[in-house]
Symmetry: C2
Subunit: 345 residues, 2 copies
Amino acid sequence: MKTYRLALIGFGNVGQGFAQILQERGNWLLELFGVNFEIVAVCTRSRGSLYDPGGLEINALLDSMQSHNSLSGIRALHNDWDALQIAGDSNADVLVEISYTDLETGEPATQTIRRALETGKHVVTANKGPTALHYPELLRIARENGVEIGVEGTVMSGTPALNLGLGSLAGAGVRKIQGILNGTTNYILTQMESGASYADALAQAQEKGYAEADPTADVEAYDAAAKVVILANTLMNLPLTMADINRTGISELTSDDIEQARGAGERWKLIGMVEKQTTSGYVAQVKPTRLPVMHPLASVSGATNAITYTTEVLGDVTLIGPGAGRQETGYGLLADLLAIHRNSG
Amino acid sequence: MKTYRLALIGFGNVGQGFAQILQERGNWLLELFGVNFEIVAVCTRSRGSLYDPGGLEINALLDSMQSHNSLSGIRALHNDWDALQIAGDSNADVLVEISYTDLETGEPATQTIRRALETGKHVVTANKGPTALHYPELLRIARENGVEIGVEGTVMSGTPALNLGLGSLAGAGVRKIQGILNGTTNYILTQMESGASYADALAQAQEKGYAEADPTADVEAYDAAAKVVILANTLMNLPLTMADINRTGISELTSDDIEQARGAGERWKLIGMVEKQTTSGYVAQVKPTRLPVMHPLASVSGATNAITYTTEVLGDVTLIGPGAGRQETGYGLLADLLAIHRNSG
């Protein structure tokens, strides 16, 4: 049996979903993989910070958040360490970075991750900010320090879009990736096909909690563009940045557009794509695209996501799965932890 | 750089497709994974047997098969070793078993694989016979001898259906697997939807080389049943055998059945399925099934295959990809070899 001590930076939906998986499946994970996960630190912006090198009770963490949305009242050796101090000086083996996403600066998550890697800690994260903006640098720091960085949760939540490309498909020569990478816009497009206007569909998405009050990141495709950058960086060794993505959102799509596509046996999908050119260079974009109804991505509806890898040896391989959700994204973190455990064996 | 010496038992379509990948992508594999594959033996039933501990030229093997469908004329230290002797006494690190499939006895492949494992060689195979009939025993022998057995190519050719379940999805708790596991029958059903009768569709499949002259293994669902057994054995730790699969083929389906489904917004698919019951036990079957057109498996057409894993943590995850083909199945062998290389690191 091997125990990994975890420090969680952030404890919102994803953090609690992840903790819940550990709580519910801890014995099963121990039995199946010989691995044990212990949370030694949880650091939030405004709900308290706990660090106890001897470990924290997962039940108590979840109960406290559920009962009064705060970590105050839980006893720990330290309750005044900030994220950087935990990243650098705690006894954690792995930093789990799940604080808020900033797609412009990647901070404060990036500096926390950097500190953890530099002090010999593995990092797993579902945070698209540091991953889309700084992955090549963070991977280099990880390698220099003999540790790993896992980012599975940043694309398609826990659906193993990255590990499939990094693992089983790596020898097949991935030359193009395209997919439905944003659940909110896919939900809106699905609602529009059922007759809703763009404005009504957006309102429904906001009501369901799929879209933020300010929906810009989703509907103007910044979120999908960040995922294209991550896919290009991790799976195709292309050092693209956000500025390299030709980006068009769905806010200009009208009910007429939807109807016209239907008449032609097609469906609108917001498709993110990156393709290596045969000579050199690449094409990278996110834009609303009409697909024939029989296309494998056309029947992917609602908040589900999907990705098609076009490979030199195998042709097209498509993966379809959840694109969001607290446990689903939490599973992305667990899958990365299990991969670290496998690689250490 | 690490070199793996390979002994190929069988050198038909899949073997030649595999050799072609090594020939075309050898330098790329060396650069990307630091791995080198060398063929030291090729043993066929009626086209010759070659074993040279110093290695054989891949070009010469492929040219010889292409020009006169035989390995005679290629110089090697030994040309009289049989499969068992190569499995036991050659200097190969990995036995690549790709001889013909016998779903009733699994022989002679099973004894060859057993001998290789017992003498400390890894095994990779695309042969459903030994895998569907003897996987639990072969896995045990592999573990006792500190080597690995990879069977990716037995299900969905090189589409990583097994490695996805064994790797990234293992921590999610797979409790049900269902899929379109046979390309021939899926092609026939697709043709029937375009208006062909069952007899005509079968004749087309035979003409295209998808179906054998005796199509029983495909149309009566023995092939799909074998794949259900393999999925249950490898991914769900259920020790099912062929006799445990409730099996119905497609030969009784009529054009009327196809039309009735279409009228109800549904499509017929031959679905293989295994599901753990909540209390204990399992359900395992292959049978023609009507799916709503929006079901992720419904739009999988022609010779393409697909599999849906229902997991406790992630819900449904679906993988779609090629179900057959010489390079595609050859890639299943390569993916297993790369996994062995990764695990040895």
